[in-house]
């Protein structure tokens, strides 16, 4: 028994050394100059992600050059070129869309500067470090939860369920993945229970609340019997509320007229709405984990002298539902913000 201790001890020391070499090398060297280019911080997710990345990097003593491209991919390209001209050691971007991300990654790699893409992946994931949530899986988990409730309702009443999806901007692979996850569940249930779901209504949001509002108003007016709703991003829940409430459809679960609702992101508003019973589930992107993955892999690349690191790092995500809310809320970044009073600010 005692003989085992030296082996365990040596193993631990070796593991600690390896970990230090991998993750500590960058921190041990001179402060780095990291360029962080992002688009508008319109949603809680981006605000929290921006804060996590910039504060962590600065706390580690690195210089962070921040650039906001204001939803203009050409401006972001110009800003990344400015960063390259300033001789930065690494670049992190949140691109406007998957296509422009490919161009910007190419620009950085041509200049031999490692680049990481946070959460909004390029259409070609073979270049650059890409950190992304598994949108299909997280969506499927959230929609599955409300589909089960819909099945119970359909079996009890025999009335066909009318689903609606608020789609994101389809240049963004996140939006494509979320749409795919939604349709996977709907199609699976319709195969197993023919006639359970009507053809889903697709409402375009272009990741813009005003566009979503106008299109959702029109869709709900034309289809007042919608009773199953999935939004591709939680930031649209206030918009959805403003459409459903005047029509008497913003009702908590357990009461007649409740619209089964799910989203994706896991923001503070979604946390509050699940707690209050208006929203049934949301697919959660583990924001802090993704931010940490992005920074660690980029710093590691800089430390190792990798100029063109190419790797996809996946956040599997999970679904926070009315069923698991009591014990799993602490795992959701939005709930942490909510409990810290983020929505009161």
């Amino acid at each position: 028994m005692l003989n085992r201790f030296p082996k365990i001890g040596i193993s631990l020391v070796v593991a600690a050394m390896l970990a230090t070499m991998i993750f500590g090398a960058a921190a041990a060297q001179d402060p780095l100059k990291i360029c962080f280019g992002f688009q508008d911080l319109e949603t809680e997710f981006w605000v929290a992600g921006h804060k996590a990345i910039t504060e962590t990097l600065r706390a580690a003593g690195h210089e962070v050059l921040e650039y906001n491209a204001n939803e203009n991919p050409d401006r972001q390209l110009e800003q990344v070129r400015e960063c390259i001209a300033q001789g930065v050691d690494g670049i992190i971007i949140i691109p406007q869309d998957g296509d422009s991300a490919v161009t910007i990654i190419g620009e950085a790699q041509d200049a031999d500067i490692p680049i990481a893409v946070f959460n909004r992946p390029p259409n070609d994931r073979s270049k650059g470090i890409t950190v992304v949530a598994d949108n299909v899986s997280a969506t499927e988990q959230a929609v599955e939860f409300i589909a089960q409730k819909a099945l119970a309702k359909w079996e009890a009443t025999g009335v066909q369920i009318k689903p609606l999806i608020v789609v994101g901007a389809l240049q963004d692979t996140n939006a494509i993945g979320r749409r795919e996850g939604f349709f996977n569940v709907i199609n699976r249930y319709n195969e197993k229970y023919p006639g359970m779901f009507a053809d889903p209504i697709e409402v375009a949001s272009e990741w813009d609340a005003a566009t979503a509002l106008a299109n959702l108003e029109a869709a709900i007016t034309a289809n007042p019997d919608v009773d199953f709703l999935y939004t591709s991003s939680d930031f649209l829940f206030p918009t959805i509320r403003s459409v459903l409430e005047p029509r008497g459809k913003w009702v908590p679960m357990g009461q007649p007229g409740h619209v089964l609702m799910a989203g994706l992101d896991g923001d503070a508003t979604a946390c509050m709405l699940i707690e209050q019973g208006y929203v049934d589930a949301t697919g959660v992107q583990n924001l802090f984990y993704e931010a940490e993955l992005t920074m660690n892999r980029l710093l590691q690349a800089v430390a190792n002298g990798e100029t063109q690191p190419n790797e996809v790092l996946l956040d599997p995500g999970f679904a926070l539902t009315a069923g698991n809310f009591r014990w799993q809320d602490v795992d959701m970044w939005g709930c942490k913000l909510y409990y810290e009073g983020f929505l009161d600010q």
């Binding site: 050059l65 991919p73 050409d74 296509d99 422009s100 041509d110």
Partner: protein, 396 residues
């Protein structure tokens, strides 16, 4: 020899030499003021201001004067210059073209749809062009050796046609340019989104991409310590966008300053009614000028699309302030009858430098936009002041 004024007002003969002498003595007493006055009234005022800003800002932000940064800022100038040249023509007429951004968007996507080499069926099968002009094999010119040439011609023709339509509607129906181009802006923005089902179009051919960022002459500044020179250390000196945009600007300046057409533009911008009475074919001139503005927007769309490597249905969004701002800063009057391509060139340089400085100051984009707006306002006020001073000097 006495002037006409002298003959009409004999008192002036006695007074003017005294006034001139007093003015001369005032200038002699205040050489700095006289110098500032000369600078302010110079045609190169914005250029002087740009150089001054550059030198001062470089003291605080040394990266501004790094060769790499200068090369970047120059590359940022060319697409903006191309579209600002067309807007300058329209402003000289006393008009305005709000539709340039949407012309850029629609020409960008139409050109890209023609030449793209691959399209993803689940993404694009909602486009109304699916199955006719586009398929999963790409656009109808995919694989053709002349794809880029024909694609660019299509873009330029389309931009020109939209511009000609604007001009036709303004002159034929006597509608306000603001209204006509506003409607065009809305319509063609929506058309670009509809044609692409709101998606970007990638997979553009390499020879098209060269138009946006290809180097003709590159330089390396510094010692050669290793056999290979890193790509980031090679600076583009003469690029395709430079040749295209500057070529367009030179032609435009020639039209403006050396042709009857150019003089007719100034005449219409100064007083359309009077120029019509004098026999200037105002309808034809105005229609052609709006057509030229559309052409310039299409040239800009080629440059932007090629450097972004995508046809983008929202290309040109938010660019209008930069375009009009660059022309106004360059001394083009919003009331018409005044302006030059040289001034617009300086205005574009100033605008790009301003953005570079504001970025270096790490300001939020909202503050940057507010400052850009203020700069345009100051430029317009400065222009009024300069015009007054010039008129006063001419009178005295």
């Amino acid at each position: 020899m006495s002037t006409l004024d002298d003959r009409l007002n004999p008192a002036a003969v006695r007074i003017m030499p005294v006034a001139k002498a007093e003015a001369a003595s005032r200038r002699a007493e205040r050489p700095l003021l006289a110098f500032l006055r000369r600078v302010l009234l110079s045609d190169y005022f914005i250029l002087y201001l740009t150089i001054f800003f550059f030198v001062v800002a470089s003291i605080f932000f040394p990266t501004l004067s790094a060769p790499g940064n200068i090369a970047n800022q120059l590359s940022n100038m060319w697409p903006l210059l191309a579209v600002a040249v067309g807007q300058t023509f329209v402003l000289i007429l006393g008009g305005i073209d709000l539709s340039v951004g949407s012309i850029m968007a629609v020409t960008s996507v139409v050109g890209a749809l023609f030449i793209t080499q691959t399209l993803d069926a689940p993404t694009f099968d909602k486009s109304p062009l699916w199955g006719t002009l586009i398929s999963d094999q790409g656009g109808i010119l995919a694989g053709s050796p002349n794809a880029t040439l024909i694609g660019v011609i299509v873009m330029l023709l389309l931009g020109t046609l939209i511009g000609l339509w604007n001009g036709f509607a303004i002159t034929r129906f006597r509608m306000a340019p603001f209204m006509v181009t506003l409607v065009s802006m809305i319509f063609f923005s929506a058309l670009a989104l509809w044609l692409t089902a709101s998606r970007n179009i990638s997979g553009l051919p390499e020879d098209f991409l060269v138009l946006g960022k290809g180097d003709i002459i590159s330089v390396y500044l510094g010692p050669k310590l290793t056999p290979d020179i890193a790509r980031r250390d090679i600076l583009p000196m003469v690029t395709y966008p430079f040749v295209i945009a500057v070529g367009l600007a030179v032609v435009a300046q020639f039209i403006l300053s050396r042709t009857v057409f150019g003089r007719q533009m100034f005449s219409i911008g100064t007083n359309r009614r009077a120029s019509e009475v004098s026999g200037v074919p105002s309808r034809r001139v105005m229609t052609l000028v709006y057509g030229f503005s559309g052409f310039c927007a299409a040239v800009s769309a080629v440059l932007y699309s090629a450097r972004l490597e995508i046809g983008r249905p929202s290309l040109g969004d938010g660019l209008l302030m930069d375009i009009i701002g660059a022309a106004v800063i360059g001394g083009t009057s919003l009331f018409g009858g005044k302006g030059s391509i040289r001034g617009t060139f300086f205005g574009v340089a100033f605008f790009v430098l301003l953005l570079n400085i504001l970025n270096a100051m790490r300001l939020s984009p909202f503050v940057i936009d507010a400052i850009k707006g203020l700069v345009i306002l100051v430029a317009a006020l400065l222009d009024i002041t300069r015009t007054r001073l010039i008129n006063r000097e001419q009178r005295s």
